[in-house]
Point group: C2
Chain length 122, copies 2
């Protein structure tokens, strides 16, 4: 049911999740400069997202306004779960352990997570 969002499409989605509805041109202007896309490329991606029912558009005069149909939270949940399932047997602990082992957690990260978990227990 949830159509797959490709990498390039995801870039477009981040723009719309941040602010919407937007015209195609507005979206194009907000795409990070590192992805050196033409306006046409952005329009193609908007078209594909429409076809996949991941965004919708409503007419605004001779142009369209685009808005997400899928919530970012849901997308993020799906992607997180997929990764943790695939690589960590579905458990979060090994992910944290893994990052810790590779020294990819700062003392502050650790402190933050501890506070967060404390809150969850209460």
């Amino acid at each position: 049911m949830p159509e797959k969002i490709s990498d390039a499409e995801h870039t477009v989605m981040e723009v719309l999740w941040d602010e919407s509805p937007l015209t195609a041109q507005d979206v194009a202007e907000r795409i990070p400069a590192t992805r050196d896309w033409t306006a046409n490329t952005v329009k193609t991606l908007l078209g594909r997202l429409l076809a996949k029912n991941i965004i919708a558009h409503e007419a605004d005069g001779r142009r369209y306004l685009y808005r997400p149909l899928v919530q970012r939270t849901d997308y993020v949940a799906g992607e997180s779960k997929r990764l943790i399932d695939r690589l960590f047997g579905g458990k979060l602990t090994p992910l944290v352990a893994h990052l810790a082992e590779r020294d990819e957690l700062t003392a502050q990260d650790i402190a933050e997570i501890e506070v967060l978990l404390k809150g969850l227990k209460g």
Copy 2:
């Protein structure tokens, strides 16, 4: 530099990470039954992984033995980082917070992570 591993290829890699070196047939036999692949499909994927320099093969008579060149740990690190960068601005805390909000952390998960973090601080 690190060539991209596709989803189907990843399935093959998990087999080799679990046990290697293996012949193509051994690999095929160990592929989870849920991926209903023919032996040919597995050989194609082995060939692609070879071409990408992600695995190597050594002759063993008229057949080959395949082994990983990339460590699972490194792959996992890359994928984890990519996800966390893309979806959580590079910080782990929001991922944990996110999973917590969606009730995807059991009490035991929380306890385990706390123990883990305690160990890291000491």
